[in-house]
Symmetry: C2
Subunit: 385 residues, 2 copies
């Protein structure tokens, strides 16, 4: 096991009828900015519930945080907070709204150009406004970690940051608010959480038994829960399990003390940037191909994954690995998403521009061994055709 | 899944050579009281390492916190802290030292009789001194939770308390400091952690997939790790896994959103009080008998436990349950501890006094269904003869 630090101070309030608990989670005197996405929280009644729970507090709203939240939009929220001397942020939405809220929280007290927060990946953050979240979309895990991704449209830069100061103070997870999500977003959440776990698990063995068992437990639970959550939108237990799995998939616990990969995410980000493909769908394209191309360096963990997650114990090592990868692909396709570039009308001509972008962004040595060169990324994309 | 809150702000610093990180975890100006147990930390060099890491800070020591820490002893530490205006507590030891430090932390600023902290189980605690721990014995999980048990010898009362204010700010877990532990204490730690998990897992199903998988992962990891940790004291990975498993077994995570039992602990406490049997050994006596007696109300989870933890899939339901219980008993015996009252020179005559004590302590409706009456406890003890 590798040395590690683990610290996660976010309070999780989980369950039915929990939005009313908001009242006890912020100061009576808080001057609150509610941050929102595209309007679903307003349409489905969640926003009304939140405002009722906030009672007599001074409350303002800021709507329109985009998927892949933009610096330009978020800076308007920063201005509003500074101008009106608001002192508590409340994200009501999914990962994009929560990521954006983290940036606003760090930018408000920041002296100097807030874009440098992104350029330093958060290392220059010394404080942040307190904030909480009401999660409406299980997927990214942002509700219980300190990281965020922000895009600056004017210079086409998409950067990640994190800071000890940008953990939510609390996150309220009420599975019933997810009943009205479009199936496409539910499927995206399942696959996003699955690949978050894989990036922290499917590397090489370091005798970290608990981390392996927890990761395998999350994957097994997703394989059971994903189809239920898609088939029966108002199945409380399915939605509850999905919500808690997605949170635990990226709250620092399973990644503590083990090597991590994240190359599937890096290659996927370029697919989103160039072709607008949903984040989760880019992962569904890249992961099966990446596992095939990199099977030698991942052999030990691939065999463990085959046995413990997919119960594949018969056949040669290579046959077992092949079956585990095929099962992974089949799971993503059961979630309703294509797993090949061709499913998104992309052919061999799409590969050069992606590799060029990876090079431009310095993505020349990815993965747990830093051995996913541009040539390897190219082979992965060719395998995904 | 049941509604729950989860909040655990303790920072874990895990790994080899991590005691030196202490310097960055307390204020430069801290006036520190180091709390110690019976002397092993002094003998094996851990205390010297700690004092070196604390550098120029004002440091005092308080030695002699007993197994089952006593109110009388801890109040002497409270006096020392108050008298010398110390402001940071550092526990160096196992669960008893950390439990005791939590009490001292709450008692120092407490106005009124500190024993009322125990009488209210911590509900009247409004603040506590900051404190951290250097864990030397993996077992109780106290290093990453907010609970403690304190005994008042003068009135033979042993009470538990917890408070939002009594989480350690940090705990340093260096597996190498456990190399010199006596085998008996290692075995006790393995069984203590195992039963902590079982108390939160082996109840009845509530469709909490992640909690079940995590609990099963901890149990499987203990079954693999326990014998290694006993056989090879300087096997780093075995000691590292044991340390992290024991912490995660009782940090609130696997118990969030599920029913809990804890009757094995309650019956076991009386065995310790009356006969001085090590806490873990009382659990090894009570648990197999309790599972046999209560097999009907635990049937669903017992079958799941048999299949997922012990890989028992053949035979009738009752045969599978019986094999799972037998495997549990065999595991405890492999750890070198007797699992029957007779192994501790206790016969049928011992049962009446235990039941009398349970009644005196109000333990008349234990377990996840509150249906472990005194009659059921008696049957459990008879089954454990």
């Amino acid at each position: 096991m590798q040395n590690f630090e683990f610290h996660n101070p976010t309070r999780i309030v989980f369950g039915q009828q929990t939005i009313g608990k908001l009242a006890g989670l912020l100061p009576e005197s808080a001057r609150v900015l509610i941050l929102l996405g595209g309007g679903s929280a307003r349409a489905n009644g969640t926003l009304d519930e939140v405002k009722t729970a906030l009672g007599q507090r001074h409350v303002q709203e800021f709507s329109g945080i985009e998927p892949n939240p933009s610096f330009e939009t978020l800076m308007r929220a920063v201005e509003q907070v500074r101008r009106d001397k608001l002192d508590f942020l409340l994200a009501v939405g999914g990962g994009s709204v929560i990521d954006g809220t983290k940036f606003v929280a760090a930018a408000v007290p920041f002296e100097g150009d807030p874009w440098t927060i992104m350029e330093t990946h958060g290392r220059n953050v010394r404080s942040a406004l307190p904030f909480g979240s009401i999660l409406t979309l299980p997927a990214t895990g942002s509700e219980m970690n300190n990281g965020g991704v922000v895009t600056r449209r004017s210079i086409q830069a998409k950067l990640a940051f994190s800071s000890a100061h940008t953990f939510p103070q609390f996150s309220i997870l009420d599975p019933t608010v997810t009943y009205t999500l479009p199936p496409r977003q539910v499927a995206n959440g399942v696959v996003d959480a699955f690949v978050h776990v894989v990036e922290q698990y499917l590397t090489y063995p370091v005798h970290a038994r608990v981390q392996d068992r927890f990761a395998e437990g999350l994957l097994q639970s997703l394989i059971e829960t994903g189809p239920e959550a898609l088939a029966r939108p108002e199945d409380y237990d399915a939605r509850a399990n999905l919500m808690w799995i997605a949170t635990l998939a990226l709250n620092g616990l399973i990644g503590a003390g083990v090597p991590q990969d994240w190359s599937t995410h890096m290659i996927g980000h370029e697919l989103t940037a160039l072709h607008g493909i949903d984040h989760a769908r880019t992962l569904a394209i890249v992961l099966p191909a990446s596992l095939r191309v990199r099977r030698e360096s991942k052999r030990g963990k691939l065999l463990q994954y085959a046995e413990r997650v997919w119960h594949v114990t018969e056949g040669s090592e290579d046959e077992r690995i092949e079956r585990a990868i095929a099962s992974t692909r089949a799971f993503f396709e059961d979630m309703g998403m294509g797993t090949r570039l061709a499913d998104y009308q992309l052919g061999a001509e799409a590969i050069d521009p992606i590799v060029t972008q990876l090079e431009a962004h310095g993505m020349t040595g990815l993965g747990e061994h830093r051995d996913v060169t541009l040539a390897t990324s190219r082979r992965i994309l060719e395998t995904a055709l």
